[in-house]
């Protein structure tokens, strides 16, 4: 074997060993590098890869919570959830797709669009997933499929809960509605909390109390393989159903209010003075909220937008109107309080018009020829404008504003609804800020609620409630409380005072009540037509707000004025006077007179809320208050 010379052998050994040493070193270095890489992956980057591995493995499937119901104060359902059915197919469980589709088409209507959508899913998604063939099956269709289901391999009927408003448009402006989650919604909500959800509260209470109503999404953590097939459920976090909301709203009174308004454009707000509970919140015309739940048809939406009566506008919350003579209810108290301005015993002689000193401009009284000599009591009962012109001038704009502000005018009442309008309580600064001068005439007009002052029906009701509650203004609340549907644990919304009207003499409330009651219950009162047969005592004030400016020397002619330029009819009231339970404000746009149009609506709502239904005509009317004798002395 070893036939090579020893010299060569040694040389070869030397060469080989040198080369072997080099390779040995290279092998060692590469091994260390490899090890370092593995240590890096498993130790330094462990968290990163552990997370990725978990993300690979576990997929959370959202479980939708049932949305909370909305009920009125007596438990009548205003918003509920209704099962809707979807016909799904799991392709891998189907024996013969063509046969199955033919069979299903015999049972329910499947349009070409349905079929196209289904084919699209079929080509794009794994065969073990649910693919929708038809949505929104009605009860009958669902039943027809359900019966045949055992023979329809791969077909599945899946129920989903959908929002439904059983009373249609009733209180729609208070309730709002849920609808499809839009791009804008996605920008403001926590997307992860709504995964897999399609609907969200858009308006009204549905929007305001979305968090309570929605509940919490549940999750099923399923292990999935690389193809997305769910293999087993690792963990299930049950969804927490939304809270059931109990409203202060009285559905019957709400219906009465809406029916009383009828086809007219208007609003009724009724609240409980002692708590601020909103008992009725009507704005007409209404519309059916159910149309919005699954995205309204463009044509139907267009029709709502183009409707000249603008049903989508929430008049009770966002309608801003001149209060007209209803403001006299509040200014009457200012008169009593101010004392120094116009002595309350003093009589004003009303000639039917008022001129500012040194001005030829005539501020007319609604009654041609005037009311003659009137006290504050007479001026309120008969709604004498001239008295209040003088009062306003005597008080001046700052005192008027400062006096009206605590009643909640000029700012949002804080009722639990989104996007409330604040109305307008003009001040000298407000006008100055807009580069406008405050004319003495502005002050005069303010005395009868005309000019720049604007109120919402919500504010008027809250203001009337403040009077009824003797100066303590309560924050208006639609939500009475909410209940956890599982534990039945109930949480009440507390009644919270918002502000107290500062008053020098508490007896002025009694005087004001008396004056307002006489508006309704004495035969000279402007609202006598609703008071003469009322079985309880009502304190109220009518109002007629001018829409069109009447030229100097001309008279307003209702018949000759186009409907949209006619006066708004207003009425504010509370009852029973002795222990007020309800304060109400009614506005009928272009309705004409407060006394003839708005007051009867208020009476119906009051009857419903106080008597539980229309007054029995045979029932004896409440005894007449003592006719206003000579005004009493201060002491």
């Amino acid at each position: 074997m070893l036939n090579i010379p020893i010299k060569d052998y040694l040389r070869e050994t030397r060469i080989f060993n040198a080369r072997l040493a080099v390779t040995g070193i290279i092998v060692a270095v590469l091994s260390v590098l490899l090890l370092l890489r593995l240590v890096y992956l498993t130790i330094i980057d462990y968290r990163h890869y552990a997370t990725l591995s978990q993300a690979n493995r576990v997929k959370p499937l959202p479980l939708a919570p049932a949305r909370g119901l909305i009920l009125d104060r007596n438990g009548a359902v205003l918003a509920q959830n209704f099962p809707v059915y979807t016909l799904d197919i799991v392709p891998e469980q189907v024996d013969n797709m063509a046969d199955l589709l033919a069979e299903l088409k015999k049972l329910v209507r499947v349009t070409d669009t349905d079929k196209k959508n289904f084919d699209k899913q079929l080509s794009e998604r794994p065969k073990f997933e649910y693919m929708t063939l038809r949505s929104y099956l009605n009860e009958e269709e669902a039943a027809r499929i359900a019966v045949r289901l055992p023979f329809l391999n791969g077909a599945e009927l899946r129920a989903r809960l959908q929002r439904h408003y059983p009373q249609g448009g009733l209180a729609v402006h208070a309730l709002g509605y849920v609808s499809r989650i839009s791009e804008q919604d996605l920008e403001r909500i926590d997307k992860s909390a709504y995964r897999g959800m399609q609907h969200i509260g858009k308006l009204g209470l549905e929007f305001m109390y979305e968090d309570l109503l929605f509940g919490r999404l549940g999750f099923e953590k399923v292990e999935t393989n690389a193809h997305g097939r769910a293999l087993r459920t690792l963990e299930r976090i049950a969804p927490a159903a939304g809270k059931n909301l109990y409203l202060n709203l009285d559905a019957k009174a709400q219906a009465v209010a809406e029916q009383a308004l009828g086809k007219r454009r208007g609003a009724v707000v009724a609240i409980e003075p002692s708590t601020g509970a909103v008992l009725a919140f009507a704005s007409t015309p209404t519309y059916d909220a159910n149309a919005f739940v699954n995205g309204i048809e463009p044509a139907a939406y267009r029709a709502l937008l183009d409707d000249p009566d603008k049903p989508l506008i929430n008049r009770a919350l966002n309608g801003q109107y001149a209060p007209g003579s209803t403001i006299k209810a509040f200014l009457g108290l200012a008169d009593l309080e101010a004392g120094s301005g116009i002595d309350m015993n003093r009589q004003v002689f009303c000639t039917g018009s008022y001129n500012l000193p040194g001005s030829a401009h005539q501020f007319r009284d609604w009654k041609k020829g005037g009311h003659g000599a009137v006290t504050l009591h007479d001026a309120m009962v008969q709604s004498c404008d001239v008295y209040f012109y003088r009062l306003a001038v005597a008080l001046g704009p700052e005192r008027i504003k400062n006096f009206l502000a605590p009643f909640g005018f000029g700012r949002a009442t804080g009722v639990d609804l989104p996007a409330e309008s604040s109305g307008l309580l003009p001040s000298l600064e407000w006008k100055a800020a807009r580069g406008l001068r405050w004319y003495p005439g502005d002050t005069v007009a303010a005395g009868i609620g005309q000019g720049s002052v604007l109120v919402t029906p919500m504010q008027l009701a809250a203001g009337m409630g403040t009077i009824a509650n003797r100066g303590v203004r309560m924050k208006p609340l639609l939500l009475r409380g909410y209940e956890d549907p599982r534990t039945k644990e109930r949480t009440e919304s507390p009644a919270t005072p918002a502000q107290e009207v500062p008053i020098n003499d508490k007896r002025h409330w009694d005087k004001l009540f008396e004056n307002l009651m006489d508006v309704v219950h004495t035969n000279r009162g402007t609202a006598y037509r609703i008071g003469y047969n009322a079985p309880y005592h009502i304190a109220g004030k009518t109002g007629t707000a001018q829409v069109k400016t009447i030229a100097q020397g001309a008279r307003y002619d209702e018949r000759g004025t186009p409907e949209r330029l006619r006066d708004h009819a207003l009425f504010v009231a509370f009852a029973p006077v002795e222990a007020p339970k309800v304060a109400v404000a009614v506005i009928v746009e272009n309705g004409g007179h407060g006394s003839s149009v708005a007051a009867p609506i208020a009476r119906k709502v009051l009857d419903q809320l106080i008597l539980g239904g229309p007054a029995d005509p045979k029932q004896a009317p409440a005894p007449r208050p003592t006719p206003a004798a000579a005004p009493e002395d201060d002491e």
Binding site: L20, T42, D45, N56
Partner: protein, 359 residues
């Protein structure tokens, strides 16, 4: 002279058996608890050890004599596979012989170092320019044929095993320098001749996230498997990456990722230590070998073994491109185990048939 009944190198044998046992455990998990796969692997290992013992008893002189023949047969089979080989996963690598199917390229992993060790030893070290030229040709022809199948991984291993032998034989430094320059110059040409998938694999190495569901997918998933194993691992049979089918080729080329995920860094260290020990032992055998043929053969086999596990683990760990190189012993696949065991048999034969007492 050793006169034992069975000639064997115990440290090497025990290390290989330990590795084989471990491979069964990992493969059982990686194959989604497929007992038949595991049993088949076990049978191949048993057969492999038989082959190993067989080669170990063969005297190196005999090995030297049949070396050119083994190469020759291998070459003929390679030609055959290009002609009539069966296609699997887009590559023509397999040759059916009755019920048996095997990859002739695996024979060349042994054939090339055998042939070169024989050829270069005959001429004495360092080799002459002519012999270097012939040796390069002997390496390049089978490597090119294997690359044509296409099986880039094995082609690289075969080419490398030839170059290792040449290097150990004393390839002039000047030539190596020229070669490095030449390769650098030829790289663009080589690049233009590569298949698209081969190019993508190289590119993927630099940025696996660029195509996470395409060419980067293997690397990303194997790194997730390794990294999420952490220090202690998720425990045997708990590789979610493999069981949920995120990790492709989990029982063949990417089995190391399963090991890492289930046994963590501890398992990785154990296996790498075993591989390192085996490679080291093989290099030691080369060092102790007493003539040029056995030295060159042992060195070539040792380095070939090292390169194979280094490339495989490097690829699983995301530092080398994805080339189809199985992890020796661990990966499921018959031809690979047999050629591996035959190689170790030759190494043991070299170790146990030394004639001269230490100088």
């Amino acid at each position: 002279m050793n006169r034992k009944l069975l000639l064997i190198d115990k440290p090497l044998l025990y290390a290989l058996m330990f590795l084989a046992a471990l491979s069964l455990a990992v493969l059982y998990s990686a194959s989604a608890k497929d007992a038949s796969v595991t049993v088949q692997h076990f049978l191949r290992i048993v057969l492999g050890f038989g082959v190993l013992i067989g080669f170990a008893q063969m005297r190196p002189e005999l090995l030297e004599r049949i070396a050119p023949w083994i190469f020759g047969v291998g070459l003929v089979l390679l030609i055959a596979v290009l002609g009539v080989g069966s296609i699997s996963k887009g590559a023509q690598r397999w040759l059916g012989l009755g019920p048996l199917r095997f990859q002739p390229s695996e024979i060349m992993k042994l054939g090339v170092p055998l042939m070169l060790a024989w050829y270069l030893a005959r001429g004495g070290l360092p080799p002459s320019w002519l012999r270097i030229g012939v040796a390069l040709l002997v390496t390049a022809v089978p490597a090119a044929m294997i690359a044509k199948q296409p099986d880039l991984g094995t082609a690289l291993l075969v080419a490398a095993s030839g170059l290792f032998v040449l290097f150990l034989a004393g390839l002039p430094k000047r030539l190596m320098l020229i070669a490095v320059v030449a390769v650098a110059a030829a790289a663009p040409v080589l690049w233009s001749h590569m298949h698209d998938y081969q190019r993508n694999r190289v590119l993927t190495l630099f940025d696996p996230e660029a195509d996470p569901l395409g060419t980067g997918y293997h690397t990303i998933q194997s790194m997730i498997a390794l990294g999420s194993g952490g220090f202690y691992g998720k425990g045997w049979l708990n590789s979610s990456q493999a069981h949920l089918e995120y990790l492709p080729e989990s029982s063949t080329d990417f089995i190391f990722a399963v090991l890492g995920e289930e046994f963590g860094l501890i398992g990785i260290l154990l296996v790498i230590t075993l591989y390192g020990f085996i490679a080291g032992r093989a290099l030691l055998i080369a060092f102790y070998a007493q003539d040029s043929f056995t030295r060159l053969l042992a060195g070539g086999l040792a380095l070939g073994f090292f390169l194979q596990f280094f490339v495989n683990i490097g690829m699983v760990a995301g530092i080398l491109p994805v080339v189809g190189v199985p992890l020796p012993m661990m990966s499921y696949g018959g031809s690979s185990i047999l050629s591996l065991m035959a190689g170790f048999g030759m190494l043991i034969s070299i170790q146990t048939h030394r004639k001269i007492v230490e100088l």
